[in-house]
Point group: C2
Chain length 192, copies 2
């Protein structure tokens, strides 16, 4: 399982055997079943999650209703707000598919940065990239209609259409499941 | 002007005289007038902006209409997507008020990181904090109604209500100016 993480890191820096051993020794790899809740509201957690295989989903429960905010697939990671704030989580994280993940915490990261400072440099670069991607996604969401959001998804993350239940997808797009069905029907009609 | 930047950094690390001199020598401080466009669609820019005083705004022009996505006030910074992508910008950045800003680019940053590695550590921490904040803002936007978004703004960034024209504020909340007026009137009525 760790090989996929090494492959991901090696897009940026070639790992030495010593660095690989350090990562392996951290014992951060977990196999989790579909439906598993990795984080729940009220929980205090210091765990950041990186997806090696499978799909996880973040959501909130607002007035008894699940509001899906994001999906994280292969080579995507989430550090929930509670990790930095130290406050009980408002966010839920669950597995949409059976998944293989790595789970780390700030203590572990400090230890690795101390041993291998270039990992901190890598994390700085990855954080800046993620920040930029996140900013773009937020901007796209804000400046688009639901139909444009759906077309954007179709173009950029079409894998989600087959991997995610319709009601979660609708919630992710900020619309009701019935609106998503109508939107799809309208687009099929336009194509003909 | 640089003192405010030093004060901000010194919330995290105490600067040496050598480090302060290095920052001063970078010649990154600019004074800009209200209304100045700091970035326009189509422009290739490598500049990240940090606001020392004043207020700047990011927006897109969609079908001839300005869509405001964010405001950055004192001690907030923006690295527009074009800095990392190298592609022409789709984003505009303009000054809502007369402002004092610092402007840096990746080359400058590398140079500073090389001389003072602990600045890279600081940037990693700041990026992670920003990422978390951005994620929370995105989640709040997605899971809230316009009224909830307005109340959230009132609670967390009430300064914007007096600093920003109404049509920009409405756009930022994802609604029409008339809807913002109605929303406000409704809330005043509720209070009575």
């Amino acid at each position: 399982m760790q090989q996929s993480l090494f492959d991901f890191i090696e897009q940026y820096i070639i790992l030495t055997e010593e660095e690989k051993k350090c990562i392996t020794d951290l014992d951060i790899f977990r196999s989790v079943k579909k439906g598993t809740l990795l984080l729940s509201e009220g929980q205090c957690s210091r765990s950041s999650i990186f997806v090696l295989k499978g799909l996880i989903r973040t959501f909130y429960i607002v007035d008894g209703e699940e509001k899906t905010t994001e999906f994280y697939a292969e080579m995507e990671g989430i550090s929930p707000p509670c990790v930095l704030s130290g406050l009980p989580s408002e966010l839920y994280i669950s597995c949409v598919e059976d998944a293989m993940i790595s789970v780390s915490d700030p203590g572990m990261e400090s230890e690795v940065f101390r041993k291998f400072p270039r990992f901190e440099s890598l994390c700085r670069i990855l954080s800046e990239q993620l920040l930029s991607k996140n900013q773009c996604n937020f901007d796209t969401y804000k400046t688009s209609s639901p139909e444009q959001r759906y077309l954007h998804l179709l173009k950029n993350r079409s894998d989600l259409l087959n991997r995610v239940p319709q009601h979660q997808l609708a919630s992710y797009l900020g619309i009701k499941p019935q609106s998503l069905s109508r939107l799809r029907a309208r687009l099929v009609k336009k194509k003909k």
